[in-house]
């Protein structure tokens, strides 16, 4: 099968590049070995830099709403983080004093949302907090199994029965000017978010839960659908098993499912992520990139890979695939001519140019898409 570009990895980086190229008229295939780190997404596009408007526009075309303004985001454990671009789900506050009085609402038995931590942190910044719990009969079935009281399962119920929770909260609300709710809304029906926001005389803020992330899953589904609507081919649950390379050019890859039906393309983009998704693999003796055997800089002494202080900046997070200036991946000291690396597989190797996390994924995806489009003109 022949494509203009084959992207290996269907997370934020791969989908952003795929949509950009498909919009430019390319024929693109994405090979995705299972779902990805979008399912743990906080909703904050860290270090997005100048890509802010471009990503807002691209996401809007997919039906993903973003929120572009500088301010502070309240994290699940109560800390505050500076943000400039977030998913619309995230409440952005002008300063760390988020409100005079806050009502924190959780579901009875939902252990992935930490009201007490939130209250402790907020009270340090002068917000008086009250924590209350709600339960509605439509959610009781989730209690039958000890492991099913999870964000996504609650969100499915909330898409249909959010009004019941709203009326319960109306009864609980006294003179608070802020209501904090877990991010368990709008899995399929995005309009629920606005309906809840406008249902009270107080401001409503949705705060992140433990994974899986409801806004992240929804974003992944919408981006994938946008890519497919544009005519892209998304091969879910498949993985690249080998690549044909000759004189610094990748000509095709094989996948586990398609085996003899090789995927040929002019350009290949490696967006397989970091250690979590096995874009990078560490063994007791080495760190490697398993598909192409690309170059990675890291010390031989394993003790230098990590800092015993768990919260310190961990050296292994700085390991990543080496590239040239245009993000062409380097193998045996030489950049391959048509293989680009984007997203977390770069580790912190390109932090100065592209930042980290979601910013890195999106900015490197745009940079490579532009290079490929430029080359085609």
């Amino acid at each position: 099968m022949r494509f203009d570009t084959v992207i290996i990895g269907g997370g934020l980086a791969g989908l952003t590049a795929g949509i950009s190229l498909q919009e430019a008229g390319q024929k693109v295939a994405i090979v995705s070995a299972g779902q990805n780190a979008m399912h743990f997404f906080s909703g904050n596009f860290e270090e997005i830099g100048t890509a802010r408007e471009r990503v807002s526009a691209l996401f809007a075309s997919a039906g993903v709403r973003t929120h572009s303004s500088d301010g502070w985001m309240l994290m699940p454990m109560g800390s505050m983080r500076e943000v400039s671009l977030t998913l619309d789900d995230v409440a952005v506050f002008p300063d760390k004093h988020v409100a005079e009085k806050a009502l924190i609402v959780n579901y009875t038995g939902f252990h992935d949302f930490y009201g007490t931590f939130l209250a402790e942190a907020l009270e340090k910044n002068g917000t008086t907090c009250r924590i209350r719990f709600v339960r509605i009969p439509e959610m009781e079935h989730l209690r039958l199994s000890p492991s099913e009281m999870r964000s996504v399962n609650i969100a499915r119920v909330m898409d249909e029965h959010w009004e019941k929770v709203v009326s319960d909260i109306r009864v609980l609300l006294k003179d608070e000017d802020l209501i904090l709710l877990p991010q368990v809304f709008g899995l399929k029906d995005l309009s629920v978010l606005d309906k809840i926001r406008t249902a009270f005389p107080a401001r409503v803020a949705f705060i992140g839960t433990m994974p899986p992330s409801v806004p992240g899953i929804r974003t992944q589904m919408l981006l994938k659908r946008r890519f497919e609507v544009l005519g892209g081919t998304f091969l879910m649950g498949d993985e690249v098993t080998s690549a044909a390379m000759h004189e610094g050019i990748v000509s095709s890859v094989t996948t586990r499912n398609l085996d003899t039906a090789r995927l040929f393309a002019d350009h290949f983009i490696l967006a397989t992520g970091g250690y979590f998704s096995k874009g990078l693999v560490s063994t007791p003796t080495l760190v490697n990139e398993p598909l192409f055997g690309l170059d990675i800089d890291y010390p031989e002494d394993r003790n230098a890979w990590y800092d015993p202080d768990f919260f310190a900046d961990q050296p292994y997070l700085n390991f990543g695939v080496k590239t040239d200036e245009s993000l062409r991946a380097v193998k045996d000291g030489v950049p391959l001519q048509n293989l680009y690396a984007i997203g977390s597989i770069l580790g912190n190797t390109r932090k100065a140019d592209y930042g980290s996390a979601a910013g890195l994924a999106i900015r490197t995806a745009f940079a490579v898409a532009d290079t490929i489009k430029g080359g085609n003109v």
Binding site: H39, E148, R150, R156, T233, A261, T283
Partner: protein, 405 residues
């Protein structure tokens, strides 16, 4: 320091990192609170079962075996295989009569064929449906698949000589559906293959692939079928034949369930068992053959990829072939389970869950409003036709009707 270099565990269950992505995509979890979810039923439960079989939970029977958990798992854990293997290993409840009837698709087909018009008439009667519902727990909303008075095997045997004249040959694993219920699919397949200059042969002795037997607690019988099928496939492969299929679920069973669940070694034949759309796509792409279509063919087609085809990763071949037909307006439906899962949806206790699972798909089909739906799975076809009223056609049948006369 001694370090373990590689981990190796049955169905990769040690690789599970408890991310719960599988549970987020499981079609059963949102509709059936009694199902513990793939993570709990699969890798989490496996840890406990390995300690003591006492921890086996009957609720594992609610798993559809749709494999969606495996398709989304970021760590390569064969979640559904863990669950189905646990059912095979620990559940020794004898299957009830209803489940035996539903699962023995080939036996029932042979039994019903001579009396097809009577059987079809009787099973479509309201009173029969009520009786089956009350006495047998087969849901009254279901329409029983129709049986054909003549089997596909008989039809092809009568044409063996003319098929043998083609210079190139393939073998066909038709499955129970094409043989007993809808021989037209087999005939369409033969028509398309002949148009490509290829003759079609039967396998020397084909048995039901056994997927319904596995699902209904008759894995020993399934393994016997598997053993006989591997022998039959081996003979074809030894004769230099590729074995083509038109049912996505039979294909997945022959290729993957035999070694993973039934422990039947199929290594020497696995790569030769291929869904017909894949074979045809690759043949056309390589330039070795071409199909000529009617100039005035027009159809608005919505394609539903069956779960087991998504697991195989071969849906792309089916829909790319459909897109090749001039005059086709194509829509790829969102990835969703239709809810029937073979015999699962026929059972009274699963009817509501089955329809709730399929609802997003039914709704999307109605909003797309195609001329008809395309799908490679016969049980999806029953479910979608009953639940939406739209006709569902196998991509092979669509190719056959679009072929230039």
């Amino acid at each position: 320091m001694k370090l373990q270099e590689f981990t190796a565990s049955a169905h990769n269950f040690e690789e599970c990192m408890k991310c719960t992505i599988c549970t987020a995509y499981c079609p059963v979890v949102p509709v059936n609170p009694r199902y513990p979810g793939p993570k709990q039923a699969g890798p989490d439960g496996e840890r406990l079962r390995l300690k003591d079989p006492y921890f086996f939970n009957q609720a594992l029977k609610y798993c559809l075996n749709c494999k969606r958990c495996e398709v989304v798992c970021p760590s390569g854990v064969k979640v559904a295989d863990i669950i189905q293997s646990a059912r095979i290993r620990y559940d020794h409840t004898p299957p009830r009569l209803r489940d035996r009837v539903l699962a023995n698709t080939d036996f029932m087909g042979r039994l019903a064929r001579p009396f097809a018009p009577i059987v079809n008439g009787v099973t479509s009667l309201g009173v029969t449906k009520t009786v089956l519902d009350v006495t047998f727990a087969i849901d009254r909303h279901r329409t029983f698949p129709k049986y054909s008075g003549r089997s596909f095997e008989g039809w092809l045997k009568r044409r063996a000589k003319e098929q043998a004249k083609f210079p190139k040959q393939v073998a066909y694993f038709h499955g129970c559906y094409a043989n007993y219920n809808y021989p037209q699919l087999g005939k369409d397949f033969v028509k398309v293959m002949n148009a490509l200059g290829i003759g079609v042969q039967l396998l020397e002795k084909e048995k039901c692939c056994g997927v319904a037997l596995i699902a209904n607690g008759m894995s020993q019988k399934a393994a016997r079928n598997a053993g006989q099928n591997v022998q039959a496939l081996q003979k074809a492969v030894d004769a230099g034949l590729t074995v083509l299929t038109t049912s996505s679920t039979c294909t997945m069973t022959l290729r993957d369930e035999y070694p993973e669940l039934l422990k039947v070694d199929n290594a020497s034949v696995r790569d030769s068992v291929i869904l017909a759309t894949r074979y045809i796509y690759q043949l056309i792409e390589s330039g070795a053959a071409q199909l000529r279509f009617k100039e005035n063919y027009r159809a608005r087609i919505a394609y539903h990829m069956p779960c087991h085809l998504e697991k195989l990763g071969w849906g792309i071949f089916s829909y790319e072939l459909l897109k090749m037909i001039p005059g086709v307006e194509f829509t790829l439906l969102d990835s969703n389970c239709c809810g029937i899962s073979g015999t699962y949806g026929f059972k009274k206790e699963n009817y509501e869950a089955s329809q709730a699972i399929g609802k997003p798909l039914f709704d999307q089909i109605r909003s797309v409003n195609p001329d008809f739906v395309a799908c490679d799975c016969e049980t999806c076809k029953w479910q979608l036709e009953m639940s939406t009223g739209y006709t569902v056609k196998n991509p092979i049948s669509i190719l056959a009707e679009a072929l230039e006369d």
